[in-house]
């Protein structure tokens, strides 16, 4: 009985998840009347805007990952090593982005950093890109912090630090040469998740008026019929790839550790 219900729940879920994927896959192949073809994909790939927005989002994702790592790794490390008291507060702040909707945060950006403010970031394209990167960093913050903090838990931060200090290493060396390599798996997991989030993000980029991949997809969706599902397939593949890479690093690391 239990097993029957279990199978029922699982099968229902699988059908619900697989249908939309099949739906978008099938629809994306129907551009040419009567036969399946990759015409929609060809159209998408021939569109220079696709490549431009895709590249733009990729660059921003990379920037977000760099900022996120530089921000999160030293902070999480410092909190574990020297400031356990600050832990609840830091954790609270890192979880805020799950509570405050992204649209509210970006609304605040627009009003706080507008051209008549002290820090007129939205006045220039570069400034806005910077702002968008910061916005993405906040979006990724909960995942990045948790991932790195969990990674730090598995190593003995205090002993590693003391050992390095006794050998004459400075803080920068300790962070870059000791701590970072030890939490590399966690950092990479966080990085791939960040990549997945940034590549599909719509709200912040649209409201800051930047030519990112998300708004491009939305625009195409409003005007075309067959390209959008093709884009959805591509986006799904990206997400899947990011998650797959995430699992791969985790598994490789386990393997490494088992060997050592």
């Amino acid at each position: 009985m239990t097993r029957f219900l279990a199978w029922l729940a699982l099968i229902f879920g699988c059908v619900f998840f697989i249908l939309p994927l099949v739906g978008m896959g099938e629809f994306s192949l129907k551009m040419r009347r009567g036969v399946y073809s990759f015409d929609a994909y060809r159209k998408v790939f021939e569109d220079p805007t696709f490549w431009a927005t895709f590249g733009y989002s990729l660059v921003l994702a990379a920037a977000t990952i760099v900022v996120g790592v530089l921000l999160v790794v030293p902070t999480a490390y410092w909190v574990r090593l020297r400031l356990p008291k600050a832990r609840p507060y830091v954790e609270f702040v890192t979880l805020l982005p799950l509570v405050i909707p992204a649209i509210v945060v970006v609304f605040g950006y627009i009003r706080l950093f507008n051209t008549s403010s002290i820090l007129p970031l939205t006045g220039t394209a570069f400034g806005t890109d910077f702002l968008l990167t910061m916005g993405y960093t906040t979006l990724a913050l909960p995942y990045m912090y948790r991932s790195v903090d969990t990674g730090l838990r598995t190593i003995d931060v205090a002993t590693l630090t003391e050992a390095a200090q006794s050998l004459g290493a400075g803080w920068l060396t300790i962070l870059a040469r000791i701590i970072l390599p030890n939490v590399m798996v966690a950092v990479l997991s966080g990085a791939f998740l960040t990549l997945a989030i940034v590549m599909g993000e719509f709200t912040m980029a649209a409201l800051l008026n930047r030519p990112a991949f998300g708004p491009y997809m939305q625009l195409l969706g409003a005007n075309r019929a067959y390209e959008p599902p093709a884009l959805a397939v591509i986006a799904f593949a990206i997400t899947w790839g990011c998650m797959g890479l995430m699992q791969l690093v985790t598994r490789l690391a386990k393997h490494e550790r088992a060997k050592a």
């Binding site: 279990a6 709200t203 939305q218 959805a232």
Partner: protein, 290 residues
């Protein structure tokens, strides 16, 4: 000289300096922008303090937007939570082959992140007017979904679409909690004469309660703040708060910038309330787990 310097450094709360970069970042890009909204919600056009913006929220259109948003978030959180719980429980306790678990969790990781614009496209291609399932049902069974009142670009269409990321999110978060239920508790309850239902009611659910509640709050906030999926699916016409706010930010459709602040402040208020409720109940429920 060197000694006094050392002493000075020791007296200064130097440890806290390590948090400065993070604090500056959080302040500039998370806290101050939010505060700007909160303060703006209570400012008049000339900058003075006023409750007028909050009072102005009380229009039929805005009321209905909030109501629809709350309904949408509660329903998708409840449905997604229930189905996700059932699937996670099926994998953890249901006696399914072990091989099911890994792929399901991996897939959940992907699906919970597959939100926004492409998700809307996937559902349009499936349940839209000329979607795969719609056409299939019509040609093979003569079932006309549209005639039966189905419309993907509506409230319930949005519910079904949101479930695509709500269910996997639930699975991801609740599976570790279910793993934490010890086999011995179930066995001890059975030996003491408890039925399966009694075990769930008196032991398992109370233990899971904080996690269930936390996940519900998260799912609620997740749906409440989502813009992209709804926007790509229905465009600007569906009357939910995030879409309204989106339109307001783009073009001041309310005709009053400070009303926009109030609208956003309302969103913060609701997600904050959901999370406060969660934290409060969690503390109560976890007396036995310090």
């Amino acid at each position: 000289m060197a000694r006094t310097r050392q002493g000075l450094i020791q007296r200064l709360p130097l440890n806290w300096l390590g948090l400065v970069p993070f604090a500056v970042f959080a302040l500039l890009f998370l806290i101050l922008p939010t505060l700007k909204i909160v303060i703006g919600a209570f400012q008049g056009p000339e900058g003075g303090f006023t409750f007028q913006n909050m009072l102005d929220l009380n229009t039929a259109s805005i009321r209905s937007a909030y109501w629809t948003s709350i309904k949408l978030s509660v329903i998708t959180a409840l449905l997604g939570g229930t189905v996700g719980f059932a699937m996670a429980a099926a994998v953890v306790f249901g006696g399914l082959p072990k091989a099911v678990r890994g792929p399901l969790l991996t897939f959940s990781g992907v699906a919970s992140n597959f939100a926004g614009v492409p998700l809307a496209f996937a559902f349009i291609a499936t349940l839209g007017p000329v979607g795969l399932v719609t056409i299939w049902l019509k040609t093979n069974f003569g079932i006309n979904l549209r005639a039966m009142g189905w419309n993907l670009l509506s409230f319930w269409g949005l519910v079904v679409t949101y479930l695509f990321f709500q269910i996997p999110l639930m699975i991801l978060i609740i599976t570790p909690a279910l793993d934490g239920l010890k086999k011995e508790w179930r066995e001890a309850a059975a030996v003491l004469g408890a039925t399966g239902a009694q075990y769930w009611r008196m032991v398992a659910l109370p233990i899971l309660f904080p996690s269930l509640l936390g996940t519900f709050a998260l799912l609620f906030a997740n749906a409440f703040g989502a813009v992209a999926t709804a926007f790509a699916l229905t465009g600007p016409q569906l009357n939910i708060v995030p879409i309204k706010l989106f339109a307001q930010i783009r073009g001041d459709v309310l005709g009053n910038p400070n009303l926009g602040y109030a609208l956003a402040f309302g969103m913060i208020l609701i997600t904050a309330a959901a999370n406060t409720l969660y934290i409060w109940l969690r503390v109560r429920a976890e007396r036995w787990l310090k």
